[in-house]
């Protein structure tokens, strides 16, 4: 890791077995102040279980979660006072107003004043509707209220499970920039799980990938800057032969191939494709998306084992 700072959150040898089935197996992870870490994994990989253990909702079979040096398992109240949580859809008390919901949660923390509540309400943009019942709120407004309750006590660590569920595109964008500023200005460490890979890609500094209860990869975003190109020509067999003869390792992608190549040798490659009598359909720079990487990482068992550290 490129971070010199002390981690604010540490997951140490976290394991969970439910009815003889190993859901999580010896998970170790560090999260740093000011960083947004994305948490990815296929369904059933153990994401929700991990998050619930961090939030004190589930007890690990073995291992511990430390937040600001305090163990969630053994020093619950001290550890939890540094955590803000939004677990899946923020379920609020629908029969009370948004404001009363916040007062309710504020009473469970030390030192959250009325002024602080109103400050958070303004930050999430709910001041016009805060005195209406939550039952009348749209999903997007409930997400905002969910964020507000998680921020009341100025937590050093924020856990978000599928946070942009139900937000419209403008809302997602606003939410994203808000989280980024929380991390950058207030130094909050943020842990986000999401299925929306493109979201994670835009929001996170780092991603952690989990599969079958094991952490298979942690990587900094934007570290992979090797240029790629996508090339499509028929017949595909001949194209592959040409690419291989030029020393590339063509990766099949749709009807064409992806090769690791910048712009320098592309004109030469195109010429030889034409000269070979092939019908060239497309050549374009290719940027690997997080989705590609995610599928690549979790797609096959062998890959998972090869990457596992």
């Amino acid at each position: 890791m490129a971070n010199q700072a002390e981690p604010i959150v540490e997951l140490k040898h976290l394991s969970k077995t439910i009815r003889g089935k190993k859901i999580l197996d010896d998970l170790n992870l560090q999260l740093y102040p000011g960083q947004v870490t994305g948490f990815l994994g296929p369904n059933g990989a153990g994401k929700t279980t991990t998050i619930r253990m961090m939030a004190g909702l589930m007890k690990p079979t073995s291992g511990e979660v430390f937040v600001a040096g305090k163990s969630v398992q053994n020093d619950f109240e001290a550890a939890m006072s540094n955590i803000g949580v939004i677990v899946e859809n923020p379920e609020m008390y629908k029969y009370m107003t948004g404001y009363k919901n916040l007062v309710h949660f504020a009473r469970m923390h030390k030192g959250v004043t009325k002024d602080r509540i109103m400050e958070v309400v303004r930050q999430v943009g709910l001041e016009n509707r805060i005195h209406e019942k939550v039952g009348t709120y749209s999903l997007g407004m409930r997400q905002r209220l969910g964020l507000a309750q998680a921020l009341l006590h100025n937590p050093k660590f924020l856990i978000l499970d599928e946070p942009t569920n139900g937000l419209d595109p403008a809302g997602i964008r606003e939410f994203r920039s808000y989280l980024r500023s929380l991390a950058e200005k207030a130094g909050v460490s943020i842990f986000v799980s999401s299925h929306l890979l493109s979201e994670i890609e835009l929001m996170c500094d780092r991603i952690a990938v989990i599969q079958n209860g094991k952490l298979i990869d942690i990587r900094e975003m934007k570290e992979d800057t090797r240029p790629h190109h996508y090339i499509e020509a028929l017949p595909a067999k001949q194209l592959r032969a040409i690419l291989e003869s030029k020393g590339y390792e063509p990766a099949e992608s749709g009807a064409g191939f992806i090769i690791e190549e910048g712009v320098q040798r592309i004109p030469e490659l195109v010429k030889s494709v034409i000269a070979g009598g092939l019908d060239l359909y497309a050549v374009r720079p290719h940027r690997k998306t997080l989705e590609d990487e995610f599928i690549e990482m979790t797609g096959g068992g062998q890959i998972a084992e090869a990457v596992a550290k």
């Binding site: 439910i18 619930r52 589930m58 550890a79 949580v85 008390y93 029969y95 009473r107 469970m108």
Partner: protein, 325 residues
């Protein structure tokens, strides 16, 4: 901790259902008193049309006849050689009072007098119990079914504290309903019924003394409240363990309504004495339990033991549970 209780109280009263229950309680108690008044007037009319004057002499003879019948009944029971010593003591006290009435010409309160209504006002506990059970059953279960439990427990507050605040809110709600029901009942007694010249008697220290109707009223109300707490604790436990308010309400009310029948069926067996639904403390105090050898301290001890077990189960399950809802 007080803040947590404040939270539970706020959530409780922000629900419409709570207000509906409170209104039903007031309406129910007032309605029962009204009904009693109506019955008393129709009985009065019948007596009048029968040509017997209602007030005065006829009444005086009535209570004397009843008291003598009662004396004979008690004497017959005392003749039973299998009588337990505790029951014998109770009967002897009752006999002492009846004989005192006849000897000193001390009239008891009439069935429809204001004093009698005050004395019987612990009957409102049935209403209070019904609504307290509904609240106790739902207070934990609805947090799970609404999904709010995740928000509630991912806080720097240990789980036992959360559960304690919920139990305290339930008990407080039960106490409030009991008090409100009692006050309504008393107000209606003053509005609808007129006092009579009767006197309430009790045996204290071997002597028959005159007491106010308020004494048995408050005493029975407190005993009824103990019963309410035991039933609500049961509903609270079922709601916490099975996370289903409907199940908890159904089971608690089922036991509440069928419990006395079941324990009557089992009354020949020793086990009946150790079931929590066998003991209505007000009935025990009035010597109206059909179980042998059951004294008030015994019944109270059985109920107390059950309440403690119910609470232990609730706390263990609630604080150990993995929240997956």
């Amino acid at each position: 901790m007080l803040k947590l209780l404040q939270n539970e109280w706020m959530k409780l009263w922000n629900k419409k259902a709570t207000w509906v229950m409170a209104i039903l309680l007031v309406a129910g108690v007032a309605g029962m008193m009204g009904l009693t008044k109506w019955i008393s007037t129709t009985e009065g009319n019948r007596a009048e049309s029968g040509g017997v004057s209602v007030e005065g002499q006829a009444d005086a003879q009535d209570w004397r006849m009843m008291a003598e019948a009662e004396r004979e009944g008690i004497a017959a029971q005392l003749a039973d050689p299998d009588l337990s010593s505790s029951r014998e003591a109770e009967l002897k006290e009752e006999l002492q009072i009846v004989e005192y009435r006849l000897a000193e010409d001390v009239e008891p309160h009439g069935s429809y007098s204001r004093q009698q209504m005050i004395k019987d006002s612990s009957g409102i506990a049935t209403f209070a119990m019904l609504f307290a059970i509904i609240v106790a059953a739902g207070i934990v279960a609805t947090e799970f079914s609404d999904g709010t439990i995740k928000m509630l427990l991912a806080r720097p507050v240990r789980r036992w504290k959360v559960l304690t605040s919920k139990f305290a809110a339930t008990a407080l709600f039960g106490a409030l309903l009991t008090t409100v029901g009692f006050v309504v009942s008393i107000v209606m007694a003053y509005i609808l019924f007129s006092p009579d010249g009767g006197t309430e008697l009790a045996v204290t220290g071997g002597e028959v003394t005159e007491i106010s109707a308020w004494v048995p009223a408050i005493y029975h109300l407190l005993l009824a409240f103990v019963n309410i707490i035991v039933y609500t604790t049961f509903a609270f436990m079922i709601g916490s363990v099975f996370r289903s308010g409907a199940l908890a309400i159904g089971l608690s009310l089922f036991i509440f309504f069928t419990g006395s029948t079941v324990s009557a069926l089992l009354s020949r067996y020793e086990i009946a004495k150790y079931l929590f639904f066998s003991h209505d403390l007000v009935a025990v105090a009035q010597g109206m339990t059909f179980l042998e050898d059951v004294t008030l301290p015994f019944a109270a001890a059985v109920l107390g033991a059950y309440a403690v077990v119910f609470l232990i189960v609730s706390y263990l399950v609630f604080s150990k549970r993995d929240v997956t809802a």
